[in-house]
Every structure is written in C-alpha cells, then in structure tokens.
Amino acid sequence: MSAEERKHEFVDSIRREQVFRTLETGVRLDGRKMDEYRKIKIEVGPIVKADGSALVQIGNTKALVGVKVLVGTPFPDTPDEGILTVNADILPIASPYEEPGPPDESTIELSRVVDRGIRESHMVDMESLVLEKGKKVYSVFVDVTVLDVDGNLFDAVSYAAVVALATTKYRKATLKGDQVVFSEKRVPLKPKTIPSSVTTAKIGRALVVDPDWVEEAVMDARLTLTFNSNNELCAMQKGGTFGFTPEEILKQMEVARAKAKENRAILKEAIEGAKKK
C-alpha cells in the first residue's frame, strides 16, 4: 500500500527557505543555472564479471549497473522476443533513509521508469534475442546498485543502464536439443538508439533540471522525460504530490528536449571511448 515517505521531512525549514529565496534570484543553492546539470562522470566496464557495466556519477549521486545476458523461456504473449528486466537496489549505505530489504515503491518506480525509457525507445532489438521462438530466448538482466544518493536517481540510473547495455558483449548461445550451449565468442548488443533521460522539477514557481537531494526534498513535482535519438519523446513520468499547469508541462518539454541532446552526446562519447579500447 502506497503512503508518503517521510525522508523529505528531514530538511529543516531554514534550508527550505534558503532554496526558495535563492531560486527567486534566478540561481540555485549550489550556484547552478536553472537548466544546468551537475558534472556527469562515466566509467565504462568496471565489473568484468558482468557482460556490460557502467558507473555513472551526477554530482554526488553514484549508480552502478551490471548487465548479464542469460538464456530463459519467453513470456507466453511475446514468444518471438527476448526478455529485458531492470531491477534497482538502493543500498542502505547510499542514504540514511534507505533500509535493507526488498525494494520499496520508490525503488520499484525507479526501475520501471528506467525500464520504460529503454523499452519504449526500442534501444534493444528484442526480436534479435530469440534462440527458438516460444522456447528459448536471451534474458537481459539490467541490475542497478545505487551507492550514494544526492538527487536525480532517474537520470543517473538511466545513463548507467544505457551505457552498460550499449557496451554489452554477451556469449553467443546455441541450442542442442533441449540444452543451451554457450560459445566463447562474444557478440555486442547493438543499440538501435540511445535514449536520453532528462528530469526536471518544479520548486515553487521555478522549473529546474537535475534536482539534487535538497531540491527534491522541497520540490512540488517532478517530470522525467526520455527522448530517443531522433529526439522524439518516448517515455514520460510525472512524480511528486503536487501538479503542473499545462503551460509548465510544455515549457519543460522543450527544455528537456534540448538537454537530452546534450546529455546523449556525453553518453555516446563514453560508449565510443570504450569501443576504442
């Protein structure tokens, strides 16, 4: 059963006041402009036991993704498609407000929003992941471990997942009767597009991108938008317990569209850099 979490109660009123007052002057508490991201750092391939991996930092937020490509049985309603699973874990060390245990609703939402960004952009060619229709397909596990939380998990996890997938090389499998045989040969999981996620937040009258933890703590609402390589919107999720006017939605859409292009360039650079090694 869903209920409001109290994590954000912990920002005291003085801090809250500071955020709002600074925003009124047109800058943010950490000095950023409204449409400015914190520094995005990407490390490709830190986990050699995974088929693909990436560590992404946006400011102090730190997300590690490992991709494993296994073989499984397709879902009955999609016999001619592979399986993609995004599963996020926010470690207790990542934030004093996280408890050990099964994922809570925020973590499930995080997994599902990142999943939709990837799935609806058609980044992964699901039909190429079939070994035998209706019987055996590749099953792509995108496992997310969030190590440190300082706001904007949606984008950090999305970027880590996208880079990890785009640099994944998996062992080719063949079927001998019922048995799956893995070859030593590795094939790349060629991305058909590079989805780029942009999260914006409404704080009072201000609209900002890439909210940090304090901004998330005081924000009214959040909007995460994912665009494919053609810069078409392919997934969207509003969050937070307040709303946007229609005009705010349209404005954020265009800010995000521009940012998505910039950030996609950063993702691509990391992906290309890794290929050259």
């Binding site: 059963m1 869903s2 209920a3 409001e4 109290r6 109660e9 009955p76 309603d77 609703e105 925020s106 499930i108 939402e109 997994s111 599902r112 939709r116 799935r119 609806e120 952009s121 909007l223 494919n228 053609n230 078409e232 919107l233 392919c234 997934a235 969207m236 999720q237 509003k238 969050g239 937070g240 317990t241 307040f242 709303g243 946007f244 006017t245 229609p246 939605i249 349209l250 859409m253 265009e254 569209r257």
Partner: protein, 242 residues
Amino acid sequence: MTQLISKKNLRLDGRKLDELRPIKLTVGVLKNADGSAYIEWGRNKIMAGVYGPKECHPKHMALPDRALLKCRYHMAPFSVDDRKPPQPSRREIELSKIIREALSPAIVLEDFPRTAIEVYVEVLQSDGSSRIASITAASAALADAGIPMRDLVVGCAVGKVQDKIVADVSDTEDKEGQVDLPVAFMPNLNLITLLQSDGALTKDEFEKAFKLALEKGRYVYEIVRDALLEGFVGRKNEKEGN
C-alpha cells in the same frame, strides 16, 4: 497486425477518433466504506472505497501537520484475460504510488493532522485506461466520504494508433497501438497531477494529444459532478424517508 482504425476513421468498437466510451458512475454503493464509488468505463469495472480521516497506524507514520494519504490500486485475479496472481505486482505497486500522488493535491489534508485517509481501488474488470478510470472513481469516493477537497481529479488517456491521435485508449489499442498517454488533472485549479507516456511522439503529436486529453477530461468532470449530485440527492431523500 489488426487494423485498428478503418478508412472511415472509425475504431474497432465503432468510435470516432475523439470519442469516449460510455461511462457510468455511482457513488455510495458500499455499506462498510466511509465513501465509495463504482465506475463502468467501457468494459472497465472498478470499485473505489475510502476510509478516513481515521487513526494512523503505525503511529510513527503520522504527519504532524496533515493527514497521511494511503492508496492501493489492486486488480482482481479475474479482471484480465490471463489470471493475475493475487499478490501485488510491481505494476500495481507503481500505480498505487502514481494514483496517490495524483489524488493528493486535491485533498485538504492539512485539515486532519496526525490522521490517515485510505483510498482503495479494486479493478474488477480491466479494459484499457484503467488508471484514469480508477482516479476518477477514487476522486468520487473521496467526495462521497465527505472529505474536503479543493477540486476533483479526472482525466483521460489519449494515444497514438496507426499514426493517429485518439481519445480514451481501449485495451486493444493500448496493446497494439503506438502510444498510451494517460493524463489526470484538476479542472478548476488547472493542474496536471498524473502524466505518463510510452511510445514515440513528435513535438506536434504530443501537443495535439495533450490538448485532447485535457478537453476530454473536462467532459469526464461533468459526469462525476452529476453522479455526486445524484448521490447527494439520493442520500438526502433516504434520510428524509422518501
């Protein structure tokens, strides 16, 4: 691939592109809940019930300055073509949160500090756009419970099917179409409180679809208002023994 839209721009169920399915809403249908509403929207059949304001359990979750809003969206095992296992799926957990956040700004939670308000949505039969139908019913159930509200929350899921923008996406259109874009909002306060989408949309397509959702949502608002009025009159007559 099924032909979802005919040459005459009619949809599988005979609707025009911007036409809603029939909607039937009744409030005050349950004895035990403090407020309730039952909606039939196309073949969607959804029951919403509300308790509260009531004591908050566990106590440490109570909020000092307002009521705690709790919400559950759940589907009956028989509500979909395949049987849905009874335990909540990840989808249901996400939707419970999204629906809670969509309803929250409409409720005057600060009138009831330290209490809890519980909203339960049970999908008895699901037929596309069920989250919007759920929010609509939940909103009516909250009003039926007499909980003070700033506005109603209503909406419409629009979509893209065979490259055309359509209103009130059906089950088949959701599965075989290109885009599903549910929108919920408060018509009087002009605030969007739920917005999701999947599938590719150009800038123009999004703007067209978004506008359509708001327009159709306003029509849904009329239906809810009428149902609440009818419920109010019904209860009044009951009281006065008519």
